[in-house]
């Protein structure tokens, strides 16, 4: 949450609007050794992500215990052979909770990015393509949304609708719209002026077709980068909401909830909060690394 929520909006935005920043590391690529480093990092990130996705789909195959199994005689036990990451305040196995929580956390990140990305893309596409008054109106609306910090918007929405899983996702999504819309709009603007659009128009292609068949596909690369990194920041926004007591209370809690509930145990049982915290951090790092890589890979300067 907090400042983190800027990451996706800002970085690619800078790519689009700033001809200097944002590009990939050319020097780095020129060295054979560093190429393997970035490949290794990518491999590592993909492996971690694959594992988490697997955990999200079939947690019961991976986790050693049941996530609702409260062993009241094993409260707050430190990590051991039988409980790798210790037990929490209910006597539940922390490793099991992390495995089972990955579904909620990944869903929270991915679904909200999809919703926010979809709406943001539509707004950006229409504004950028139509230009003129439509553009001004949409962009002013976007500016209005941007004057309210994302987290406050998310808080207001969660308070208004109550902290259910879907409402939290919705809150995060709305907070993510303005940044996405801006980036897509500037990408659309640059594509619209290209000759092939004029050509399409000349042969009588409809506006809708141009928008969706010719322009949209060209926006995919910044969008993909932005959405990948956005998964991380959405998870952080969700974690922040949990901290403020607006997290979702579920029988199988997400990582943000585990971390925010475990934080008061930091001084007596560090593992209860530390491992969910590390899980969140690792996931965000991994999606950032993958996003970075995607950006390098799709960088037009590389001729891909």
């Amino acid at each position: 949450m907090q400042v983190n929520s800027v990451t996706p909006e800002m970085t690619p935005e800078a790519v689009a609007s700033n001809p200097v920043g944002g590009a990939a590391q050319p020097k780095l690529r020129s060295k054979a050794g560093s190429l393997t480093v970035s490949k290794a990092l990518l491999g590592f990130s993909l492996a971690v992500l694959a594992f988490l996705v697997a955990a999200a789909i079939v947690p019961q195959w991976i986790a050693p215990y049941s996530p609702t199994d409260m062993k009241t005689d094993q409260l707050l036990h430190s990590p051991s052979l039988s409980h790798w990451l210790g037990t929490d305040q209910f006597g539940r196995d922390v490793w099991t909770l992390i495995i089972f929580g990955s579904r909620q956390s990944l869903l929270m990140g991915i679904v909200s990015v999809l919703i926010g990305g979809l709406i943001g893309t539509l707004i950006g596409l229409i504004a950028g393509y139509c230009g003129g008054i439509v553009d001004s109106v949409f962009m002013r609306l976007n500016d209005i949304l941007m004057t309210i910090p994302g987290i406050l918007l998310a808080i207001a929405i969660s308070v208004a609708l109550g902290p259910s899983f879907f409402n939290v996702i919705l809150a995060i999504s709305v907070a993510a719209i303005p940044g996405k819309a801006r980036v897509i709009r500037s990408t659309v603007l640059s594509i619209r002026s290209r000759p092939f659009i004029d050509a399409a128009r000349a042969v009588g292609t409809s506006h809708l077709e141009i928008m969706f068949r010719h322009i949209l596909p060209n926006c995919f690369s910044p969008l993909l980068v932005m959405m990948t990194i956005g998964v991380g920041s959405s998870i952080l926004v969700g974690t922040g909401l949990s901290f403020l007591g607006l997290g979702v209370v579920q029988e199988i809690p997400d990582w943000g909830y585990l971390l925010s509930q475990g934080r008061s145990y930091m001084t007596v049982a560090w593992w209860v909060a530390t491992f969910p915290g590390l899980a969140i951090t690792l996931l965000v790092i991994v999606v950032n690394l993958i996003g970075d890589h995607l950006r390098d890979w799709m960088d037009p300067k590389r001729g891909v």
Partner: protein
């Protein structure tokens, strides 16, 4: 590639080492035995002076130090140092003089005549007298004041007659037995009439009382600084000394974040902190650098209220089955790590009229729960949840307070226990607006709450259709017999007869499962070893008048 791996691993190791280090500080002392209770420690001769910084738990939102307007517990804890009351209540519920030296109650029990101390002055130098008493009570009653809990505490107050400068007669429209006990609370503390006139709307930020400490500065949303009132010479008989307070300065800092509050106490950045979470309580008790004090807060315990006006919970047998399916003792032990006990009555054990007869009047009995539900035709479905006529046995628990004092954690344990009996407990978190709408409409299966109060008359608010909340009483009880007893209890002035009435009421409530009490909340206050003499008033607010710091 190897290099980057090594770095990453190194970073991770440092982070882990850091946390391990931290855990070491936490675990180190937990083996020792039970810590000392402050009240029994003899720390030699009193050394007056110095400043005590107190980290206050809970969320303080409104910077409101107006005794009549600030309704929540956190504000009450701060204001106790600022305001005095007419009388003081002892732990055995007897009432002793404080700002009033004596009092008489009229034959019809509707009037109380108080004879006031003549030497009492507000912090602004104006005298405390019968006019001030009249001003204060009239102020609470006046809707323009927007008084909070103090309004309930004056009951059927009508007027005050100023009989002479130091004699005031307070009149009610009906007998109101809880009045003297209420008069001992800080909510009915006395504000300076002159200050109220002077500050108007800004009085809550510029409070002036007669208490042992006076306000120096209020930093909005952050802290309140007090200094001792040098003229103070009217301590209640419960105090251990007379004259001004020992401490020169008292600073209350708002530290809502638990981990932070414990951290600043452990590193001695503050000398005292309250609402210590159970896991830290155990460790702090064992650490001889700190002392821990606990006191029972007089209140309606955090209790579970099944909605008796909604099917299937309108059937006593179903309510009984739900209660039997829960092992509260185990749940409370798990969540509060042995620092709190299971509750048996709606009211906490130290409250007037508490009856031990309800203790162990039910027990966890999975077999009985299953039997009852089976008999009623609730059959376990494929997912293990019972069904009847295509409807699942699901309890929708609406909540708006979140995991305050680990209450949702407690509910999570009960959720698992209920599941064993084929009952599903669903936690529905709602914004407070929606919550109160649904609660007032009765659109829920279960609510759970506590209610702070010093007198058993609070039961009328929660269980009676004739109480202040009428048909919308928290328990949604609609029981003429219970209404009658609770009415009797508030009109009856004889303590023994009151106790008898409330005994019957408590037993009735438990028999009918209008309430399933969960645990008895212990208010905890930890301080560094050098701090002595912090006490508690009758409902359980901390009193710093006798406190001193060993030099």
């Amino acid at each position: 590639m190897k290099k980057s791996w090594v770095k990453a691993v190194k970073m991770a190791t440092i982070l882990l080492a850091l946390t391990l280090l931290l855990s070491a500080c936490g675990d180190g002392s937990s083996q020792a035995t039970q810590g000392a209770n402050a009240a029994e420690v003899d720390s030699g001769p009193v050394t007056p002076g110095g400043e005590l910084v107190f980290a206050l738990g809970g969320i303080v939102t409104d910077d409101n130090l107006d005794a009549h307007k600030a309704g929540n517990a956190q504000n009450g804890r701060v204001m106790r140092s600022l305001y005095d009351s007419l009388v003081v209540e002892l732990p055995d519920h007897s009432i002793k003089p404080w700002l009033a030296t004596s009092w008489e109650i009229s034959e019809d029990k509707k009037s109380y005549t108080f004879h006031l101390r003549k030497d009492v002055k507000f912090h602004d130098g104006t005298p405390f007298n019968a006019e001030a008493v009249k001003f204060n009570f009239d102020r609470i009653k006046d809707p323009a004041t927007k008084a909070s809990s103090s309004l309930n505490e004056i009951g059927s107050y009508v007027s005050t007659d100023v009989l002479d400068e130091y004699t005031a007669r307070i009149n009610f429209s009906a007998p109101f037995a809880p009045f003297l006990s209420n008069a001992a609370k800080v909510d009915l503390g006395f504000v300076s009439p002159a200050a109220v006139k002077k500050y108007g709307d800004k009085y809550p930020q510029n409070p002036v009382g007669t208490g042992p400490f006076k306000l120096v500065k209020l930093v909005p949303g952050t802290e309140v600084q007090f200094e001792k009132n040098p003229d103070y010479n009217w301590a209640p008989p419960t105090a251990k000394h007379q004259g001004p307070a020992y401490l020169d300065k008292l600073t209350v800092k708002y530290v809502p974040e638990e981990a932070t509050r414990i951290s600043v106490l452990q590193s001695k950045q503050v000398q005292a902190a309250d609402i210590i979470p159970p896991q830290n309580l155990v460790a702090l008790k064992a650490d001889n650098q700190f002392r821990v004090q606990e006191t029972e807060l007089l209140q309606v315990n955090f209790s579970i209220y099944l909605n008796p006006q909604k099917a299937p919970w309108n059937d006593l047998k179903v309510r009984e089955a739900v209660r039997a399916a829960m092992d509260l003792d185990a749940a409370v032990k798990t969540i509060y790590l042995g620092t709190s006990k299971q509750a048996w009555s709606p009211i906490s054990p130290s409250m007037l009229g508490y009856t031990p007869t309800v203790e162990n009047s039910w027990k966890p009995d999975a077999a009985k729960a299953n039997q009852l539900l089976d008999d009623l035709g609730w059959v376990k479905g494929a997912d293990g949840i019972r069904e009847k006529d295509g409807k699942k046995l699901t309890i929708e628990f609406i909540d708006t307070q979140g995991n305050r004092e680990k209450r949702l954690d407690l509910m999570a344990v009960l959720q698992q226990q209920l599941k064993q009996a084929g009952v599903e407990l669903k936690v529905v978190s709602l914004p407070s607006g929606t919550y109160s709408e649904r609660r007032l409409k009765g659109d829920y299966d279960l609510v759970a709450a506590s209610q702070f109060s010093g007198d058993p008359d609070v039961l009328r608010q929660i269980f009676s259709t004739k109480g202040p909340s009428k048909k919308n009483n928290l328990a949604r009880a609609n029981d003429p017999q219970l209404d009658q007893w609770l009415e009797d209890g508030y009109l009856e002035n004889d303590p023994e007869k009151r106790k008898e009435v409330y005994k019957k009421a408590q037993e009735w409530i438990i028999q009918n499962v209008y309430s399933i009490p969960t645990y008895v909340f212990q208010y905890s206050l930890a301080s560094v070893q050098e701090v002595n003499g912090i006490t508690f008033d009758s409902p359980g607010w901390p009193v710093f008048y006798d406190a001193w710091i060993k030099k």
